[in-house]
Symmetry: C2
Subunit: 794 residues, 2 copies
Amino acid sequence: MEDEQSQRPAGEPAAEPGPAPELECKNEDGVEDLEDPESTAGNGISSLEQPLLKRSPTLTASHLAIVGAKVSHIESLDYEIIENDLFKHDWRSRSNVEVLQYIFLKWAMAFLVGLLTGVIASLINLAIENITGLKMLHMVGLVREGRYWAGFLYFAGVNLALTFVAAVLCVVFAPTAAGPGIPEIKAYLNGVDTPNMFGAPQLIVKIIGSIGAVSSGMDLGKEGPLVHIGACLANLLSQGGEGRWRLRWRWLRYFNNDRDRRDLITCGASSGVCAAFRSPVGGVLFALEEVATWWRSALLWRTFFSTATVVVVLRGFIEVCRDGRCGMFGEGGLILFDVSSVTVRYHLGDLLPVTIVGVLGGVLGALYNHVLHQVLRLYNLINAKGRLAKLALALAVSVITSAGLYMLPFAVPCTPCSAAGAAADFCPTVGKSGNFKKFNCPDGFYNDLASLLHATNTDATRNIFSTGTAGEFRLDSLLIFFAVYCVLGLITFGIAVPSGLFLPIILMGSAYGRILALLLARFVHIDHGLYAVLGAAALMSGSMRMTVSLCVIFLELTNNLLLLPITMFVLLIAKTVGDAFNPSIYEIILDLKGLPFLEPKPETWMKDLTVGELAAAKPRAVTLQVVEKVSTIVAVLRATPHNGFPVLDRPRPGVSELHGLVLRQHLMAVLRKRWFLQEKRRTEEWEARERFSSTELAEKAGSIDDVQLSPEELDMYIDLHPFTNTTPYTVVETMSVAKAVVLFRTCALRHMLIIPKFQGLEISPIMGILTRQDLRAHNILGAFPHLANKRKVH
Amino acid sequence: MEDEQSQRPAGEPAAEPGPAPELECKNEDGVEDLEDPESTAGNGISSLEQPLLKRSPTLTASHLAIVGAKVSHIESLDYEIIENDLFKHDWRSRSNVEVLQYIFLKWAMAFLVGLLTGVIASLINLAIENITGLKMLHMVGLVREGRYWAGFLYFAGVNLALTFVAAVLCVVFAPTAAGPGIPEIKAYLNGVDTPNMFGAPQLIVKIIGSIGAVSSGMDLGKEGPLVHIGACLANLLSQGGEGRWRLRWRWLRYFNNDRDRRDLITCGASSGVCAAFRSPVGGVLFALEEVATWWRSALLWRTFFSTATVVVVLRGFIEVCRDGRCGMFGEGGLILFDVSSVTVRYHLGDLLPVTIVGVLGGVLGALYNHVLHQVLRLYNLINAKGRLAKLALALAVSVITSAGLYMLPFAVPCTPCSAAGAAADFCPTVGKSGNFKKFNCPDGFYNDLASLLHATNTDATRNIFSTGTAGEFRLDSLLIFFAVYCVLGLITFGIAVPSGLFLPIILMGSAYGRILALLLARFVHIDHGLYAVLGAAALMSGSMRMTVSLCVIFLELTNNLLLLPITMFVLLIAKTVGDAFNPSIYEIILDLKGLPFLEPKPETWMKDLTVGELAAAKPRAVTLQVVEKVSTIVAVLRATPHNGFPVLDRPRPGVSELHGLVLRQHLMAVLRKRWFLQEKRRTEEWEARERFSSTELAEKAGSIDDVQLSPEELDMYIDLHPFTNTTPYTVVETMSVAKAVVLFRTCALRHMLIIPKFQGLEISPIMGILTRQDLRAHNILGAFPHLANKRKVH
């Protein structure tokens, strides 16, 4: 059964964020299957050894997860079509005009999501490029005057201030805006709603925070946050805004359901990826491969429409900003790696070194996942100490980053421009983006490490990816760069600022690729820039385990189709190698946060268990009669946190039939409206129809404590006929859990009813009710420990 | 219920192809719900007005479809996991080594499919380029000597001979190899097995026939056939070859099930598209968007692996053939349109003409679909007259094509090379592929229409797509070209040779784009080659209604990422416009052939009907007892063509429980093995296990007439416990048809059992059984005509 107390629509502001860990919603009396949240969270985060979210794996496990470093109640989403009388009437009475309105609105929303994501991405880029540019200009000026310490203080000070802005926003206003947000989007599209994830505060904090964090030179990207921004936009558009300021436009009522919102959030996530990499097809495939759980061809088209809009917006933005009309903004932030100008050649004989790149990339990626997992656990302990601890952690990382970036270039010698074969007119470059940074070197010399470290992360990637520059970077510089970014990548990700994982891994991977290129230079003659691209791809695939979408993103980034087969090859190898060690980084984070993600494949031992056995291990399902006393319903709603109740009917004496399933939110709507009957009778269809609009029924449930009823009212009756979904999905008790899991996931269910094989008189027509938690392998193994042994056989 | 008499494994050779229309399998006595096939087919094709496959739409509609111009029985596929005792034991007893074998084999198969598809595609290209090249060389020689009539006779004669080879092979050996094969693959992946579709004869005929047909200069492509070739390869590999020559390797037993074969055929289809367009991502997306019904992330990776292999093979092939080592073979057949060398520029202001391209493309595409539909109906009447009629039709089309291609260039004047701004060293070109064909013109002049008509279709497309050639083609030449290819495209597709739809539509579309470019030249300045590309995209999208996959295919074809947003835009508009008129061409063909394709979305009126009502409109389900008499089983198998039978159990007197569902193929396996019991008893689990291997149970059913039993044997019993799938998917009678359809399709079912709301004593525990035919909108409307009126409201 589900216990979801947090009944606000997704995206409402957090109620008074107190010291973490804290339950956002109070535990209710009489909820027997909900563990004490204090002990849960308290134990969970007291030690590095124990799981963060300690919970005995039981079938009735409560819906708790770590959301923004706090333990919160989470809720499942209703993707099933609730076929009750009122819904059917609403659907039947929809005119053709309304159907057209709906279709038009669906497309208009997809367009708006793309448009706004594109505009916001452009503005973020603009801000980052300008802030970083000004910062670097001044810092380089100080260095050229020989005032090294002043340069450092200026550099570190500005970075600290920028980090402070980002972290304070995150800590105070929207703790859930920290990190990339992609795991939560993944969970949402799998049917789990994490509270306060896709609202206006998150959107605003994510935008400003992302600008601050990226400009501060920390080792994080704007890619993950952009995906989250797209999802927030989609959610806000679909519900017409936020909380009190919600637009209650009539047309918007079509979108007040979880299904349409899911589709729109998928569009938002694709738009975000597209905006991050200017990769429209890659964005769609990313959503398909990594983010979405349910997919249909219609969605392919719609997400593609969104990403196409994003690309057009970005293109328009570049046209506007051409010729330096946008300050320090070049095309830098948008065209990440344009290597199409150089013809890269490779042959079948190069497969061996490329295999090495893939295998090592897979190992490194898996290792990165492992270490990052440990670091995140440690950080959760620190973050749980309170807001100041979070802030201090973020600022400490900023200082370490500044120190590393500023000081390390002094450790390497200057390289003469002639050695790199660079033309005199752009070596060394001073004060603008380019490959050969002068920094502390005399004229005619450049500092290769400064070229990488003193730039925005995207510029650094462009430099390291650039082709035809085999001699530009020294091995020791690259080793330092790689080491620095390994450390920074691991310590930066978990802090309380919006941060993406893509760019840190790309930077690490490209350095790794270049290092390999230098080491193997004697044997093979692939371009070093290509090695960098392949290294980045390998590490991405080794850590994130995506294949097709990564490949297409790289294809669209490098703008070079010739690289496709070789990139594919590297990706496949790295993923295979990585899979041998541990799950993907997103799965690790999902697990760490305790989000109940439904895996695509059932475990093999599930074939040996029937849903009847599962139901027997659970408390009896709480059922209602089809015409029920108000007091009973109130008592049930108070006593249980369940969201769906089987409704029984007694057409003849002794015969009990399953009538359907009624949702908590509909019961609450009836209670709030006080639609009570004096006597126990079945109402006519029009009676309920006159009182309830589909908009009211679509509202989330809210708390039962807000409804105050008089004793007279409690003594009256409610007719559940109009509200009961008469077509819930059912399984017979003999169904194997393996097949039930497939049914549950493919049909995107929230509740599944178990009916007995034989009913007969005086036998309950319902054996139990299954939800997401009951079908998770971890929870089943808790209730049936003997299955864990079988599991090991295969 | 299903009535599938054709029980051979997919891909066995047709039994004695007689004069069409003919039922491939004899109608059986006692099959009451199967209509008389003679009247069915006879009436159906006697007139253009009537549907080809005349069948009263009823729930018990028989599984008949037009397969290769003949009316044949088709069969549904078992994608559901049949959880019976024997299966469970087989799965439990699999060692880790066997699991690894299976995984290894899965990948090895995907690799082999890609490898073989790549090699075959390369060889087909090589053959076509060489045959066409030699033919053209000689023909041009005759023209230059002024021997125009000799040139024509030679040209037409060679074309006729090539067509003859292709058509004879198709007509005599593999009628199902005609056409593209994509609709049948689509149906297969939707769960419908068309007989004799994916076997060795089809593969061989498709390869040779495709070479002949394309070399003969007819207006058809090798793209569709390549997709079919990929699917044939996948099917043959998965079952270890064909019929008698089947490899019975132990490892292959893992693949003797419909699920793994489905995955492999998906890989084959993607490989085919990839080989056709050298577009690996496009291939995967084509399979995802257009061909496959069920998709999962794991499949994305596997298909991508296959297409990656294809690309590597093609690349190796091009490297081998560089420097003219492969005769007349250039890179022509493989790199279709390489326009990346020219920087194409366009601006936001160009959106208006581009919109026109899209809208007109959508209209033209829909019109093309409509006319082609009519032509195909007419052709089916002709093809049904017999083999000679088929052959004559193909040859007639060949002569018409030859006449058009050869004679029309004489109708246009020669253009001076200087006017086109072409360099003197490649204008006019003689005897080799190139833009400026001399043909009948004097030196310094070229014939622009000959440049388009006297080339392979791919060369023609490359010429018309080429950029920076605004003045090369005259308006009247382009109009003639467009008109010719409209007519040829319509009359060529339905003839009895392997033919693809892609290239004819691309040719038509590119001409349409160029014409628009010339007409709009005064207002806009987009490159004419780009217009041709956009026109082709618009027409493709207007006819085939694909979006993302087409866009990626065009992206990979043109090798130019800058074209992406504008291509997207055109595709979206053309698809939207086309959808307003009629369904996509593949859906039209599926409908024409009568293949029972399950649509992704249920009709809205299905919400008003329950499965109980559906069951009531059907004959009662034929059930078996869990220990049943042999004679009863034989009688049932003889009397009905059903493929699944509910099995009932009587644990206590008066109580009848649903035990599960047993498949016809398993009953046949028991009958063939004569595993009978003397008395009526339940066997131990090991008894059946000792007698039946999983390989035997995986065999298709075969005919009941092949089993001869003695009267003593008929008097014995069979225990169905070990064979019964105890976990069939069930729905309660109150479930709406809309939700049942979703369940049926998303879980890829073949049978769905309806159980009553209340059972009680002496009530049958099973109300009915639903199959694909029962859930098709067309059939339901036949049984419930009043719903058809409701349908019109929305």
